[in-house]
Amino acid sequence: MIRASIVGASGYAGGELLRILLDHPQVQVAQATSRAHLGEYVYQVHPNLRKRTQLKFSDPAALEPVEALFLALPHGQAQHNIEAYAALAGKIVDLSADFRLRDPEAYRQWYGQPHAAPNWLSKFVYGLPELHRRELAAADYVSGVGCNATAANLALLPLVQADLIAVGSPVIVEIKVGSAESGADGNPGSHHPERANVIRTFSAFGHRHTAEVIQELGLRDVTLTMTSVDLVRGVLATAHAIVKPGVALKDLWQAYRPLAAENPFLRVVREQRGIYRVPEPKILAGSNYADLGFDLDESSGHVVSMCAIDNLMKGAAGTAVQCLNLMLGLDEMTGLGFAGLHPI
């Protein structure tokens, strides 16, 4: 068994890591740290884990050496202690934004301050297996992924990989997000009377996750517009672009179909019958699947590409475990077989 610990385990992503790893056949959770909940049973914070573990939150200062370390800390913290973490574990997956961007100047631009450990940025592999499966298999240090960035990247990946987007076409991604994205700590905007029932476009331009789409897909003219909707979990990215002249619906099938065949957590959802004809986040709650859909106005070349995910799973903890599986040489689906619920 691989011994793994979670630093910052009281947040939502940490809770999902615990839920996944407690059922993982090859990984044993050694420690789950939390300063705020030191000494409490983890199920007192993550109530779905009651009767599944007697683990208590431990002191982050008392971390013991393990084979693998998950860092699920708020953004900006891991970069200050990365040397110490690396001394404790040979494999690290950092779920925060600290090591996602390769370029220190890009980090300063998007996060508003210089990176505290810029020499570490090049040591990390961006943790999206659909883009970096081979590098992940040889990696010791892997970054997490932005949940919105993941939905946007996976929505656009088939179009970019098949080189179907017209030169000079702007790419616009409208992203609807659930409240769990804002984390376990409350703020005035997440207060229930203010957050319930919203359809609120809180970021028209300039969302930080845009940097991950630019970096990973090489798109220059890309905009992410973020809208809060009345969901707890879930992200739906709806991308708009113009395709190259002559591209037809069959070309889109030839782009999406092999990608879904090569990637076990990608599914094409473009049904002619039933209610679930397009990707919808709600049936993905708790699962690591990313559902892709598309349509094309062949007369104008306007393509719409969609991706639905659970932000805490494919957008955070699920992908992090998928990465660790690859880093350890395991089947990448190990521990991630939950298919979601229907109805929900």
């Binding site: 619906l249 069959k250 099938w253 030839q254 179909r257 094409v268 473009r270 049904e271 002619q272 019958r273 039933g274 209610i275 004809r277």
Partner: protein, 57 residues
């Protein structure tokens, strides 16, 4: 040996069963459209009309 046809909607390769007959409706396993078998030698299919419905508005 069974014949294959390409879906006229998504170009998926569909294997026809040996006892298939002209006029039968088959469903594309990839894109889900209904296809009418219009020939066997060579095998051919056309889009079959599908009932439109309000599925979520």
């Amino acid at each position: 040996m069974s014949a294959t046809v390409a879906c006229v909607e998504c170009a998926a390769e569909i294997e026809l069963t040996e006892d298939i007959e002209v006029g039968e409706i088959i469903v594309c396993p990839d894109c889900g459209v209904d296809l009418e078998v219009t020939g066997l030698e060579p095998a051919a299919v056309e889009l079959a009309p599908m009932e439109q419905e309000d599925w979520g508005e």
